[in-house]
């Protein structure tokens, strides 16, 4: 298996068909978004031919909440990502490098969290957040995402792989624990940060159930919840083009980021497997 070898014709055909299956739904969506709603109402096949119009996109800029939901999703996803990176790096370093009572048991305690699925805690958590008046707030949307046992596990493994000699050399130079962590070790974990960051961001961006029951006011709707609320039955008949334009518009930012940083994201994703 030579990595530089060309694909066999049969494999190339198969992969091309697969790619077509991946792309066709996206192209169909874009075509629908470029058609007048009234034409689509009569027959969606009209999307295969012109005339095409940007009217639906103009309508988004005039009076759709999509931009607002996008902003909320961005705040929540970035907030969650930053929080996870900070908390998991700190904890990962602590578990990997420091000696303190119950270190092993506490680590095992965290690992147990890997097996706790969201639906086992989501109903009581909804009640808990009600008592704390945290619903319909950014903290309410961000906090649950910060509990990432996998992130702690992942960072701990990464810190463990860094030679201890580095620590000792730095300590001899009189660096404090925190300086050592902040100045010497943390920069070395950048690839791991990227992997965990991409993971967390996508997870948070796509989260649906928690925002569905916590962000119940449109001012705090995230993209997933907002678009779900806009998919009314009748909207699918009379405003299909507009609905699709919203979907395209909402996907664009993250698709563009993905295309620009594809190499880094792919490398970051791959990092998860090599632990």
């Amino acid at each position: 298996m030579n990595p530089r070898a060309r694909l066999s014709p049969a494999a190339l055909v198969a992969v091309t068909i697969g790619a077509a299956i991946m792309l066709a739904p996206l192209l169909w969506t874009i075509l629908l978004s470029l058609k007048a709603n009234s034409e689509l109402m009569r027959d969606t096949a009209s999307a295969f031919s012109g005339p095409y119009t940007l009217e639906n996109y103009r309508a988004i800029l005039v009076g759709s909440s999509v931009t607002h939901w996008l902003l909320n999703s961005l705040i929540v996803s970035l907030g969650t990502t930053a929080g996870v990176l900070i908390l998991c790096s700190l904890a990962g370093y602590g578990f990997a490098r420091l000696d303190f009572p119950f270190r092993r048991s506490l680590f095992v305690f965290v690992l147990l969290g890997l097996a706790i699925p969201e639906q086992a805690v989501i109903l009581p958590r909804h009640q808990l957040f009600a008592w704390l008046h945290l619903h319909n707030s950014y903290p309410g949307l961000i906090l649950p995402g910060l509990v990432a046992p996998f992130g702690v596990f992942f960072m701990t493994q990464y810190f463990r792989a860094i030679p201890v000699e580095l620590d000792e050399a730095a300590m001899l130079d009189g660096a404090s624990r925190f300086t050592l962590f902040w100045k010497v070790l943390l920069p070395l974990t950048r690839p791991a940060q990227a992997t965990l960051g991409v993971f967390t961001f996508l997870g948070s961006w796509n989260d649906y159930w928690w925002p569905l029951i916590s962000a119940t006011r449109s001012a705090r709707f995230t993209l997933t919840v907002g678009l779900a609320s806009a998919q009314m039955n009748y909207a699918q008949t009379s405003g299909l083009g507009f609905l699709m334009a919203q979907a395209v518009f909402a996907s664009l930012p993250i698709l563009i980021v993905y295309i620009i940083f594809q190499k880094q994201i792919v490398a970051a994703m791959a990092g998860a497997a090599v632990r």
């Binding site: 298996m1 096949a45 303190f100 706790i116 009581p124 998919q231 594809q262 497997a273």
Partner: protein
């Protein structure tokens, strides 16, 4: 590892913030949930201890069994094809050519879309009147299959949608796994005049075993908890034929207001996920042992 009193305090300072949140937002609600499951609890307060009544109800509830069976079917119909497809893709695209890079980009692109958008797109692929499939089938003179209303087709429809959405990540895991295989193993095989299939079965697949188990493990755990696609694409219908357990939990809690019963169903699903996870950890451990 250096010790000392300062280190002890420092240790807690580093792990403390995470542990506090972890205990408060995961462990505490977990026990709250277990407690709730033993109560006849209404969403709006009224609460009475009933022991195992909710669990007994779940075992006698045909709807719960139907949801469990649906979840099982969905998991199998998603995890197996997804694993096979993504493994094949990784094998095909593990090359340094520009074309392979573009293909990798295409196959990963759907992963960045959110569930609401994925289901909206697929509704207008699958729906028998306005969907893309219908338009193509009708042009060819056929009758479009009623993907979203035939009880035999809704689960496959959810599976197809989910596979389309999820190919990116497992493919990346396999690609990463492939890059870990030392090139000299293949060189040795080439000296032995081993054919491509022999190399695949004797070198590539055995070396990928851990990645394979990891992919299956992550996907199984994820698909056992499938929710958004079912809620948005089929609403669990027709007549519950595509309703997975998590959607049932959501409906019982926020539609029927029976918080205690919903909590009991959630705990049962938790046990299921837990046992699957442990079986798979055990499998990973065994695989690792054999590798040595």
């Amino acid at each position: 590892m250096t010790g000392g009193r300062r280190d002890r305090l420092a240790g807690f300072a580093f792990v403390g913030p995470f542990l506090a949140l972890y205990a408060f937002l995961l462990i505490y609600p977990l026990f709250m949930g277990i407690g709730l499951s033993f109560h006849r609890a209404d969403l709006f307060g009224a609460r009475r201890f009933v022991g195992f009544e909710n669990y007994a109800r779940a075992f006698a509830d045909p709807i719960a069994w139907q949801a469990l069976w649906n979840t099982f079917k969905l998991t199998v119909l998603i995890v197996l094809p997804l694993t096979a497809i993504t493994l094949a893709l990784a094998l095909a695209l593990n090359r340094a050519t520009r074309g392979a890079a573009i293909f990798r980009g295409i196959f990963f692109a759907s992963s960045v879309l959110s569930v609401t958008i994925v289901t909206l797109i697929w509704r207008f692929i699958l729906t028998p009147d306005a969907g893309l499939v219908a338009k193509i089938v009708t042009t060819l003179g056929g009758t479009p299959p009623p993907f979203l209303s035939d009880p035999n087709l809704t689960i496959p429809a959810l599976a197809i949608t989910t596979i389309w959405w999820s190919v990116g990540f497992p493919m990346m895991l396999f690609l990463a796994g492939l890059q870990q295989i030392p090139a000299d193993m293949y060189e040795a095989a080439a000296l032995d005049n081993a054919g491509p299939w022999t190399r695949l079965f004797k070198i590539t697949l055995p070396s990928l075993r851990r990645t394979l188990i990891l992919v299956i493990m992550l996907q199984t755990a994820a698909q056992l908890q499938l929710f958004g696609q079912a809620q948005l694409l089929t609403a669990g219908g027709p007549s519950g034929a595509s309703r997975p357990v998590v959607l049932l939990i959501f409906e019982v809690a926020f539609g029927r207001w029976e918080l205690g019963y919903a909590a009991a169903l959630a705990e049962l699903l938790f046990l299921l996920v837990l046992s699957v996870t442990f079986i798979q950890y055990w499998a990973v451990g065994r695989a690792a042992k054999e590798e040595r």
